[in-house]
């Protein structure tokens, strides 16, 4: 109607907000042996961050939707190891290796009274990255398969497919168990070649991209699509989520046949392994090997450099992300599990069909006058 509107905000800020405090204990040693041919660097740290500033959801009758205040504490413990080796050192040729290993374990040690979990991200109602007391930072919570007490998944006898659990649970931890990288540098006179491999173990990624690939059957993983399939599980009741037992109180293993297409694609009435799957099934382990960087550099000899009135000149060619291999994602999808829709934020491990990682080449020219 052409009238401006102004209203009170729905986020309430604590007038007595305090800063966050981090207390850290760190200890390390630095060794060098054999005239610095072998160097060892080890650090252990234990960090506790308290008085975190966060938003607590408020009951609607308070008039606010969230209340920003201090609460909670997070602990991060871990160690870092660096190994510096020079296997070959001669006048013309040097080979050096640098190995680094890091392991970090985070844990939410405390949240506010009466708060069981805080959601930190996720665009849909599931999966969401949450903070739960006793769990690592930002674990993913989502729908899971219904299982027996021994962890065997339940199969619905009328469809031959898995049954989803009614309650959501933790489906994965996007924090990796450890990361390690090895850099090799070879120098021959004015030429230097270095390449870096790295390996990340653990972490998880919920990937809607993989569910699309498998669900539409466009990769060689689903090439074999004739014939019937029987998935592994025991019969269960979809309403009570209890396994159906036979006369001797034993589990009845699934023998209902389904088609290959039903494994990956459904109309939404049951969960599959791809399209319309429950979140647990769409989450993959993010272990990945990678050739992260290869650099070839040439340092111009001083004679030439001086002729051009330069004190130093160097040309180099760099290639990044040249090769990767993720063993725990479907083989023919060539998927890079570090793709993360939320980028460099608190929320990790969720990929809503983000752009894939790229291979990059660069050419550097460095001139010192």
């Amino acid at each position: 109607m052409g009238q401006g509107m102004m209203e009170l905000p729905t986020v309430l800020y604590d007038p007595e907000l305090e800063p966050e405090f981090t207390t850290e204990f760190e200890a390390g040693v630095d060794f060098k042996f054999f005239e610095s041919r072998i160097g060892l660097d080890f650090t252990y740290y234990n960090r506790i961050s308290e008085n975190q500033i966060g938003a607590k959801t408020s009951a609607p009758s308070t008039g606010y939707s969230s209340f920003v205040t201090n609460f909670g504490s997070i602990s991060n413990k871990g160690f870092e190891l660096g190994l510096d080796l020079y296997p070959i050192v001669t006048n013309d040729f040097t080979w050096s290796m640098y190995l680094v290993y890091t392991k970090n374990k985070s844990e939410i040690t405390e949240l506010a009274d009466g708060v069981d979990e805080i959601v930190i991200g996720g665009d849909f109602s599931a999966p969401q990255a949450v903070l739960i007391k006793g769990q690592p930072y930002g674990v993913l919570k989502g729908e899971k398969l219904a299982r027996t007490k021994d962890g065997i998944p339940l199969v619905d006898p009328s469809t031959g497919m898995y049954i989803n659990d009614k309650e959501m649970g933790i489906i994965g931890d996007p924090n990796p168990e450890f990361k390690t990288a090895l850099t090799n540098t070879l120098k021959y006179k004015d030429l230097a070649l270095s390449f870096m491999f790295d390996y990340q173990k653990g972490g998880c990624v919920y990937s809607s991209y993989l569910t699309d690939l498998l669900g539409r059957g466009v990769t060689k993983d689903t090439e074999n699509r004739l014939g019937t399939r029987v998935i592994k599980g025991v019969y269960g009741d979809a309403n009570t989520l209890e396994p159906i037992l036979d006369a001797d109180d034993n589990y009845i293993w699934n023998t209902t046949v389904i088609a290959e297409a039903d494994l990956w694609f459904s109309d939404g009435t049951y969960s599959t392994f791809a399209i319309n799957s429950c979140d647990e099934v769409a989450t993959y382990d993010a272990t990945v090997w990678r050739l992260r960087e290869v650099t070839l550099a040439y340092n111009l000899p001083k004679k030439f450099a001086n002729k051009l009135r330069l004190s130093n000149a160097e040309i180099s060619v760099v290639g990044r992300n040249l090769w990767y291999f993720a063993p725990n994602v479907p083989k023919y999808t060539n998927y890079d599990p570090v793709v993360n829709t939320f980028g460099n934020t608190n929320v990790q491990g969720i990929d809503y069909t983000g752009a894939p990682s790229t291979r990059r080449f660069a050419f550097n020219l460095s001139l010192t006058f």
Binding site: M6, E7, L8, P60, S61, T62
Partner: protein, 559 residues
């Protein structure tokens, strides 16, 4: 030498620039620090209207509770605590409507602005009254109070008593001729543009509604009889054209100002509002299902303004129908025919021009896509409710008055409103003329005269009020619970009848087809508390011991 001069010159300029900057890094020059009361008023009016906007939030599904519409998603009174629309109205009321109302009241009292304070109070009482009517005991004294994170619920009768005090204060505000009134008011007041006389009428009407609503428990309200007598003696209520309603326009950018119900139904992906066949039979005077239809044989002239038939009497439906009568295609509440989930996107009967600014029914059929403009107001207090409320008081409380004349006034006022809304949405639509009005009145008033007891007369009055309140669910829901009229479908004999066959083709039957309904739940007297509140305030607000279809009532809902 040249370099040195350049150096000095450059440094001098930079030094000058640095000292002339007086922006503080901690102060954002775009951040709003002063409260603009005029804009706060507009925002508050918008938020209050949005809370109970027709076809939006809880009213999307409450319309099926009063059997104006049928809903596939919430059939058979199934608004469970976790349902989003139930929680949306609760959240909207507290976080947006009430919070801003309280702020207006506080700042206006401080600045001695009686108009703003009165408006804030009227809107606050309106919002809280509807909330209590739906949920009974709700947070009131501890709601929106700084420092209280888990407000406790107040007893619904205590809230009503306090609301009566507040509305009296509002009336005093509007009668106050000596206040300073420093805040500007005019176009920013979307209801009455600052007209104090109209606001006073609205406040009086709201007070009448509060007293009528609580009449069965009047002993619980302080001074009920005296308040009512004084109010009726003053007789200063909303008249035709003075309704308290939130306007909508056809503007789409920069913000969408069309009625929410229109946008959802006419431009949403799938239509979800079905016209309830029980309502259809009352409007058309049929008795296929409503065997004791009090308005049998009377065809209401408001029909083409209320709903629109996409199909024609002889044309095919998109799929096999559940309930069909000529061009009217819909689904029946609790139907077990198995045909209710068939898609009827292009053949179902849709809500029309009066409820949401949709399409006027000329009887030729055709899909609604691309028609309508969403220009229809959100009704909050209507002129037509006043004669109906007075008629109810005459028939039940024995106050002085002619109930038959009041019934006629109410129907005429409702038709006046239908004409006004239809004309504002589409000036080419014809108005309901005197001939049609007189014909309707002839039928209704004869039925009224034929009604033997006051209870039967009340049935006619309340059924007509229910018709007038089509799609205005909260008021209709309170009326049904308080008076027991109109009589609703309760599936007692588990049978539903459809006059046309359950086929794709139009096939009129000699005898209506009988089919089964599921067991219809007992009529819910109150709403569940929504999960958005029970999860965060469980100690005070929870659904333990709350049985919505049996003995949990609002205080005025005395059996």
């Amino acid at each position: 030498m040249k370099n040195k001069i350049l150096y000095l010159f450059g440094t001098g300029i930079i030094a000058l620039a640095l000292t002339s900057c007086d922006l503080d890094i901690n102060k954002d020059p775009y951040a709003v620090t002063d409260l603009d009361m005029a804009q706060l008023l507009t925002a508050t009016e918008y938020e209050v209207a949005a809370t109970f906007s027709e076809g939006y939030y809880i009213n999307t599904h409450l319309a099926s509770y009063v059997q104006h519409t049928t809903s596939r998603e919430v059939d058979n009174y199934s608004l469970i605590p976790g349902y989003s629309t139930l929680g949306n109205t609760w959240n909207q009321a507290y976080r947006y409507a009430i919070k801003n109302c309280d702020e207006i009241i506080k700042l206006s009292d401080e600045a001695d602005d009686a108009i703003y304070a009165g408006i804030g109070r009227v809107l606050r009482v309106y919002t809280y009254m509807n909330m209590v009517d739906l949920w009974g005991d709700i947070p009131y004294s501890e709601a929106n109070v700084a420092g209280i994170e888990t407000p406790k619920a107040d007893d619904s009768k205590d809230i009503y008593n306090d609301l009566l005090v507040v509305i009296n204060k509002a009336i005093a505000n509007f009668k106050d001729g000596e206040a300073e009134n420093p805040f500007a008011i005019g176009a920013n007041d979307l209801f009455y543009q600052g007209d104090e006389a109209k606001w006073l009428k609205a406040a009086n009407t709201l007070k009448l509604k509060l007293l009528v609503q609580s009449r069965k428990a009047k002993a619980d309200i302080t001074n009920w009889q005296n308040e009512l007598n004084a109010l009726l003696a003053e007789n200063n209520f909303i008249g035709n054209g003075e309704d308290l309603q939130f306007p909508h326009s056809a503007t789409k950018t920069p913000s969408d100002e069309r009625k929410f119900g229109f946008v959802d139904e006419y431009e949403g992906g799938q239509k979800s509002v079905w016209i309830n066949p029980w309502f259809y039979e009352v409007l058309n005077g049929k008795t296929y299902n409503f065997k004791q239809n009090p308005l049998v044989g009377i065809v209401d002239p408001r029909i083409p303004y209320y709903y629109y038939n996409q199909a024609t009497a002889a044309g095919d439906a998109t799929n096999v129908t559940d309930y069909r009568d000529g061009a009217f295609i819909s689904i029946f509440m609790g139907s077990n025919s198995g045909q209710t989930s068939n898609s009827q996107e292009n053949s179902m009967t849709c809500i029309g021009i009066y409820p949401v600014g949709g399409k006027f029914d000329t009887g030729t059929g055709g899909v609604i896509a691309g028609s309508g403009n969403g220009i229809a107001p959100d009704r909050m207090l209507q002129a037509y409710s006043v004669p109906f409320m007075k008629a109810e008081l005459v028939l039940t409380e024995g106050i002085a008055g002619d109930a038959k004349q009041l019934l006629e006034d109410g129907i005429k006022a409702s038709i006046y409103h239908v004409n006004a809304v239809a004309k504002a949405s589409d000036p080419t639509v014809p108005a309901i003329g005197d001939a049609a009005i007189n014909s309707l009145l002839l039928g209704v008033l004869s039925a009224y005269d034929a009604a033997a007891t006051n209870a039967k007369k009340l049935e006619i009055v309340m059924t007509e009020k229910w018709i007038a309140n089509f799609f205005n669910s909260v008021e209709a829901y309170s009326d049904i619970r308080r008076t027991g009229y109109p009589v609703l479908f309760n599936g007692a004999d588990r049978k539903i009848y459809t006059p046309y066959d359950q086929t794709k083709e139009a096939n009129a039957l000699a005898e209506p087809l009988e089919y089964a309904s599921s067991a219809i739940l007992k009529y819910p007297r109150i709403m569940w508390y929504p999960e958005s509140e029970t999860q965060l305030n469980n100690a005070n607000i929870n659904n333990k011991g709350r049985v919505v279809s049996d003995y949990t009532n609002v205080f005025w809902d005395v059996q």
